[in-house]
């Protein structure tokens, strides 16, 4: 099948408006006759469910957590971008579009990104109207801050809990519709298959995680807002339950999976402390507004610090290497995430890591505390040269900006980041790859849509900070509700979809067979054993830098591990009860397939772009080297084993932006 991205004709800035004027609409009375399933209740799924219900469709929403409010969007910290230009610093729709395409290393789709930038300002209006308490200045207007890879302040925020506040906004919009009976909410339910009838997505098979019951749910369309697959690495900043299962089942039923190798490794996370580690914790990129990243300049100081003989605060300015400021003077500590992560790895690989494992760099707030403190002392008419006066004032300012992050750090590491620099290291955070979608956000299966992190379209090979929240809400509030109407307009006379059909029978049977196999398997090892092993392969061979040899090994090793998993996994308990090990086993089974496709995709892509860094393709200065012949989306079609997946290419055309060497110097 040839990939048709269905990008509307016409000038870039007019595409979305023209598209909306020309699509089919469903009249309000007919919307009542149409059912839509939304899987996932994060920013994308939650906002889509609320909006579709408000438009009049009958929505069934599913989440595996005990409440829609717990979806992992809740953990997003730093902020949400929008081209409001409230600061008057030169921002515009075009500039947000430009920054996003450039930040994605010219591997995203122009028309989708422009639309994203275009609707971004509406998101802020919408959220404020919903009562989302964004940060404000003393004049009562909204405040902004800067994020990596851009030269303007366009990020709106609510301390370090922006994702929480936005998700609670979407959750409140959902609650209003649940109260009205327009959304039927299924908590603690996991989607285990999508059902295709006559070539169209017409329902799902879900498992009730409390009772173990297998349920059939039908609808005229199915929307997946099921997030990313970073947990294929075992250790990531994702929630423990975040998984690829819904997306992977959709892939197995015909949805192409695009660019699986594009993974974001976030530069500022709390380093691994030991083998018991179950997940990693992010320290928001917003900290790079005020924190300076460094390692010691001299090896003797590194050794002294590791031996506990020297404190980082005792090291003189001239003995520190602020390597981001040194290498990238224009953007300094605010280079994009992929660049910052690789630079940290480069220093640590060279032996300059500052903790026992050698995998940590400093993120230091001393300069910011001094600067803010002196400013406050000046405002209050106090002695701005006396550290006893200005330091507490500076700490207060930093506390109001990042207080919750500092507290999180202190609880995990047991060190006070107001007094000593934080230690940070890159960790898997976000996946730019995902289910292939066209301009309508429809997958290659008619009636099956993918929104938010679950799709692939907007961030190319690297996502800029504060853009995930923007994309999730843009897709759910403002894009999908239009595009899905165009499809559903043909379904006004279809009537309810029956769950008594051979297709539902077959899908349910395949789910039951899989579950039966898992609970009856006479294996010896717990699910985590396999997940951790997979994670190690992924991190070592498909992580921050990749090469042909390692990727080929990864493919072999993952394939072997998958066989071992099915033979030797032990799932205690029964299928007909609350059984977390069973849920985990199903998810890890899918990660074991996705991981191999990931490595295959990374092997195919003989270039470096954004988060995908192939050691064979780098500039003399060690920067990512793109290759023109790879200016395409790699969309994979499922054909059984991951090794048999068939590649389809969508060429990326840049008509409104000049493709050039990405530079942040």
């Amino acid at each position: 099948m040839a990939l048709d991205s269905k990008i509307p004709q016409g000038p870039l800035a007019e595409k979305w408006t023209k598209y909306k004027n020309e699509i089919n609409l469903v009249n309000p009375a007919n919307k009542r006759l149409i059912d839509v399933i939304v899987v996932g209740t994060g920013l994308a799924g939650g906002s889509a469910a609320a909006t579709l219900a408000e438009l009049g469709y009958n929505v069934k929403a599913f989440c595996f957590q005990d409440s829609p409010r717990r979806a992992h969007s809740i953990a997003a910290q730093g902020g949400i971008n929008a081209a409001k230009n409230y600061q008057g610093d030169g921002d515009s729709t075009y500039r947000l579009f430009y920054d996003t395409v450039k930040g994605g290393d010219y591997r995203s789709r122009e028309a989708n990104v422009y639309r994203l930038a275009e609707v971004s300002a509406n998101i802020i209006d919408q959220c404020v109207a919903q009562g989302v308490p964004f940060a404000r200045d003393y004049g009562g207007l909204l405040d902004n801050r800067s994020f990596g890879g851009v030269l303007v302040s366009r990020t709106f925020y609510a301390k370090g809990q922006t994702g929480q506040q936005l998700l609670l906004g979407a959750y409140s919009a959902m609650n209003r519709q649940i109260g009205r009976g327009k959304i039927k909410m299924y908590n603690r339910h996991e989607m285990l298959d999508v059902v295709i009838v006559d070539g169209k997505a017409r329902g799902i098979i879900a498992r009730n995680l409390v009772t173990g019951e297998i349920e059939r749910h039908s609808a005229h369309a199915v929307v997946l807002g099921t997030g990313g697959y970073g947990n294929v690495f075992f250790l990531s900043t994702n929630a423990m339950g975040s998984n690829v299962t819904a997306a992977w089942k959709a892939h197995k039923r015909g949805a192409y999976f695009a660019n699986p190798c594009y993974t974001q490794i976030h530069p500022t996370c709390i380093p691994v402390s030991g083998d018991h580690q179950s997940k990693l914790t992010l320290m928001s990129e917003s900290l790079r507004n005020d924190g300076r990243i460094w390692v010691p300049k001299h090896m003797k100081d590194v050794e002294a610090i590791r031996a506990g003989k020297l404190k980082p605060t005792d090291l003189a300015e001239e003995d520190r290497d602020y390597y981001l400021e040194r290498r990238y003077p224009a953007f300094g500590n605010l280079v994009p995430r992929d660049v910052a992560s690789r630079a940290a790895k480069e220093r640590c690989d060279a032996g300059y890591g500052v903790n026992a494992t050698g995998e940590a760099v400093y993120l230091d707030f001393a300069a910011a505390i001094e600067r803010y403190g002196k400013e406050q002392a000046h405002v209050k008419g106090l002695d701005e040269n006396d550290p006893k006066v200005y330091l507490p004032l500076g700490k207060d300012v930093v506390k109001t900006k990042y207080g919750n992050l500092f507290q999180m750090y202190e609880k995990i590491v047991d060190e006070n980041p107001y007094e000593t620099p934080m230690m940070i290291y890159p960790a898997v955070h976000y996946t730019m790859g995902g289910i292939w979608v066209d301009y309508n956000l429809q997958t290659t299966v008619p009636g099956l849509y993918a929104i938010g992190e679950a799709n692939f379209s907007d961030h190319g090979a690297n996502r800029l900070g504060a853009s995930a929240l923007m994309q999730g809400l843009a897709d759910g509030y403002f894009v999908l509700p239009y595009t899905i109407g165009d499809y559903l307009a043909d379904d006004i006379r279809t009537g309810p979809i029956s769950t008594e059909s051979p297709e539902f029978d077959e899908a349910e049977k395949s789910v039951r067979d899989m579950i039966d196999h898992l609970v009856n398997n006479e294996g010896t090892k717990p699910v985590d054993y396999f997940h951790k092993k997979l994670g190690k392969i992924m991190w070592n061979k498909c992580g921050m830098s990749r090469n042909e040899k390692g990727l080929k090994e990864a493919i072999e090793e993952i394939s072997e591990l998958r066989k071992e998993f099915w033979k030797d996994v032990r799932v205690p308990g029964e299928a007909t009860e609350f059984n977390e090990e069973l849920a985990k086993a199903g998810r890890v089974a899918d990660f074991l397939e996705l991981g191999e496709l990931f490595a295959k995709d990374a092997l195919l892509r003989e270039e470096s772009a954004g988060g995908h860094f192939r050691e064979e393709y780098q500039t003399e200065e060690g920067e990512a080297k793109r290759r023109k012949e790879f200016q395409y989306v790699a969309a994979w079609e499922y054909k059984g084993e991951p090794k048999d997946a068939v590649l389809h290419k969508e060429d990326l055309v840049y008509e409104n932006i000049e493709v050039k060497e990405r530079s942040y110097k």
Partner: protein
């Protein structure tokens, strides 16, 4: 560290349940409490036993999914943290640790340490929102300046994670702190004024129907709240409720 764990085991909602003893050794002080339970569970699975069921997800203190009543305190002995942020360095070698579910009539046990907190969702369905269509055709976000002090207080109330520690800590199993946090978030903002009367009446009515107890101002909820939600919110809700009742 070597520890004795006394953990509540309950097969399902109908089972009676009981405390069961487990020994665990070589616990690192840098482990989180839930990582310690992960280790225990993997040991149980390898022995052919059933692992202990507990709720958890983000493991960074924001999703509100984890619960646990540890040594008689919701989220354990540390302050300002959820169970997932509690670290083993808060315990000593040889300690005995009691681990129970959050207990309240409105939070029935599903299995072991997992409870059903959907009562909280239903309270939110009753009025935890501002009725604005998600069309994006609202006024410009900066059209109404909001006093920073009020905006900050609204934010503080809005940081509630809905974990239920307040209910579990209250001798009456009252949900006043949880409900008042949402009522306060909106009461402090101009956007929330239009529906203020109905909101507080409906949410309180639903809270009562769910079987949560009354508030007797002991303040245990505030002490155990991992997000430091202030008792001020309860006072604010009481005044909102009184205003609404007089109007109503």
């Amino acid at each position: 560290m070597n520890l004795t764990l006394k953990i509540w085991r309950q097969k399902n909602a109908n089972d009676k349940g009981k405390m069961t003893d487990y020994q665990i050794s070589d616990v690192s002080p840098d482990m989180s409490f839930l990582e310690m339970l992960d280790v225990l569970n993997n040991q149980l699975i390898e022995k052919g036993d059933e692992p202990v069921a507990f709720d958890h997800d983000c493991r960074e203190g924001i999703c509100g999914m984890c619960s646990l009543y540890i040594n008689g305190e919701a989220h354990g002995p540390d302050r300002g943290v959820t169970t997932c942020q509690l670290h083993m360095r808060k315990f000593k070698d040889g300690d005995t640790i009691y681990i129970e579910p959050f207990r309240a009539k409105a939070f029935p046990v599903i299995k072991d340490l997992v409870v059903d907190r959907s009562a909280f969702d239903r309270v939110q369905h009753a009025g935890g929102f501002i009725s604005v269509n998600t069309s994006g055709n609202t006024q410009d976000a900066n059209a109404i300046p909001i006093n920073k002090h009020d905006a900050d207080k609204s934010f503080d109330a809005a940081t509630c994670i809905g974990c239920g520690a307040c209910v579990a800590s209250c001798k009456n199993s009252s949900a006043m702190l949880f409900v008042s946090a949402k009522v306060s978030q909106f009461a402090l903002l101009p956007q929330g004024q239009v529906e203020a009367t109905d909101r507080v009446l409906n949410m309180v009515k639903q809270m009562d129907e769910e079987g949560f107890g009354n508030c007797t101002n002991t303040g245990a909820c505030e002490v155990e709240c991992p997000k430091g939600i202030s008792l001020e919110n309860i006072a604010r809700m009481n005044s909102e409720y009184l205003k609404a009742s007089l109007k109503g």
